[in-house]
């Protein structure tokens, strides 16, 4: 229920930002995620060291000696 309320608040409390006012969003510092190779580096590092990592699109876990 809390999740639904949070989602509703999230989706209804924002104004539309016109295309011509999104220049700042093109800056690499404004990206919501790191570049894909940096994401993989972090994902691989944490999924092989933390039992609670993964579960959100990460692979099942490598077979290497790092498991």
């Amino acid at each position: 229920m809390k999740l639904v309320l949070l989602f509703a608040l999230f989706t209804t409390s924002c104004a539309v930002v016109p295309q011509n006012r999104r220049g700042k969003m093109a800056d690499p510092m404004m990206q919501i995620a790191d570049d894909p190779l940096e994401v993989y580096r972090k994902q691989k590092f944490y999924t092989t060291r933390e039992g609670a990592a993964g579960g959100d699109g990460a692979a099942a876990g490598g077979g290497c000696g790092c498991q």
Binding site: A33, A52, D56, A60, C64, G65
Partner: protein
């Protein structure tokens, strides 16, 4: 009369032009296959620590988890016409680890983890093709294969991303499936055929522009795993004074929800913050908070500082000294209760080049340390070209 007809034609022509598509005006685009960008990243980890699953130590005490990893990876993005984009990604891991090394030293051991102890080289290839169905909808499919000495893994997935409200909001959904097939070793290093596990994963995501300098995202993931969920050669200290094999459940259901926000700062910087909650059927609940502060130094250079804290409960069957008859048991320090922290600093430059769109360099250092004794120093650097 001629003037009237000309006037009517002039008035009517623009109205007619508005109904023409880009293709009708400019002609059908010629097919092409073009390299859009290329990026390479090299990372290296030096790990120190002790865990009860490792046999590189006293029989009933924690053993060494020392490890060195070298991880180069390369990614190339190709554009095939106006609608298709291909992303090919090739990561390689070179691992030297103390824990399997200790098994290799046992007298009966012939090959153990196929020499993964001394040096294990693993590689993968992942190909993602994205099809732009229309201006608001992207569909993608991905396939991948992971190969190392005693381990094979296949994966595939598909997903969709659709934007709304003049691209202010984006909704995405994806489904992935993995199948791992690997050798089963006992804790003495003897091989007992092969075993497998499978993983199915579904994800939902929603991102929203909140202002000209704020963007937020919510993600939810559900993962179901079944089969052999351990590496088969982790050991557990037993109350009878010896070591026995890890015994894991053959099913695990994992859920994670995360929220992220990026806020531009007035002094030419930005802050990115995220929170993630995780829970699974093994009894592990976890909370992770991460913050990244970025500051632009020049039009082409910026730095960022990272701090992450992660806290998790132990798996319900985690123990450092198991009863011999325990039906489920693990001593893997990664499934223990701990608090882990990471801090790091990175610097990046994007050099404009008259022949290329951008040349990118970055370098970073991170230190990971956690309350049950594991410490890792990481160095990473990358080079990228956008054509």
């Amino acid at each position: 009369m001629a003037v009237t007809a000309f006037t009517i034609a002039m008035i009517a022509a623009p109205a007619h032009a508005q109904t023409l598509s880009d293709e009708e005006i400019l002609g059908r685009p010629r097919p092409y296959f073009r390299l859009e960008s290329m990026r390479m990243r090299v990372s290296t980890f030096e790990q120190e620590g002790r865990g009860y699953q490792s046999q590189a130590g006293p029989t009933l005490g924690p053993g060494s988890e020392r490890m060195t990893v070298l991880q180069p990876q390369i990614e190339a993005v190709f554009k095939q016409g106006e609608r298709l984009t291909h992303c090919v990604w090739l990561p390689i891991d070179v691992v030297t680890a103390a824990s399997p090394d200790a098994i290799d030293r046992t007298p009966a051991s012939a090959d153990v983890v196929s020499n993964s102890s001394r040096q294990n080289v693993g590689g993968a290839i992942d190909w993602t093709t994205t099809y732009k169905a229309d201006k608001k909808t992207d569909l993608f499919v991905r396939d991948g294969f992971h190969l190392e000495e005693n381990f094979r893994s296949w994966n595939g997935g598909m997903g969709v991303t659709r934007s709304f409200a003049d691209d202010n909001a984006t909704v995405s959904a994806s489904f992935n499936a993995y199948f791992d097939w690997f050798d089963r070793f006992d804790i003495g290093g003897h091989r007992h055929g092969r075993t497998s596990r499978s993983t199915s994963n579904g994800n939902l995501g929603f991102s929203q522009l909140l202002s000209t300098t704020t963007i937020a995202r919510l993600d939810y993931g559900l993962t179901v795993q079944s089969g052999e969920l351990g590496n088969t050669w982790n050991s557990v200290p037993l109350a009878i004074g010896d070591r026995g094999p890890e015994i894991m459940p053959d099913r695990r259901v994992r859920q994670a929800i995360s929220g992220r926000i990026v806020q531009g700062l007035p002094w030419n910087g930005s802050i990115r913050a995220s929170y993630r909650f995780y829970t699974d059927s093994w009894g592990i609940d976890a909370h992770t908070v991460e913050a990244t502060l970025m500051q632009r130094l020049t039009p082409w250079a910026y730095v960022r500082g990272v701090y992450r804290v992660h806290t998790q409960d132990s798996a319900a069957f985690f123990t450092t000294l198991a009863a011999n008859g325990a039906t489920l048991r693990t001593s893997d320090s990664d499934l223990d209760r701990f608090v882990a922290q990471t801090w790091g600093a990175h610097a990046a430059i994007d050099v404009p080049d008259p022949r290329l769109k951008t040349i990118h360099f970055d370098v970073g250092y991170e230190r990971y340390f956690r309350s049950n004794g594991l410490t890792v120093n990481m160095f990473t650097w990358s080079t990228g070209f956008r054509f």
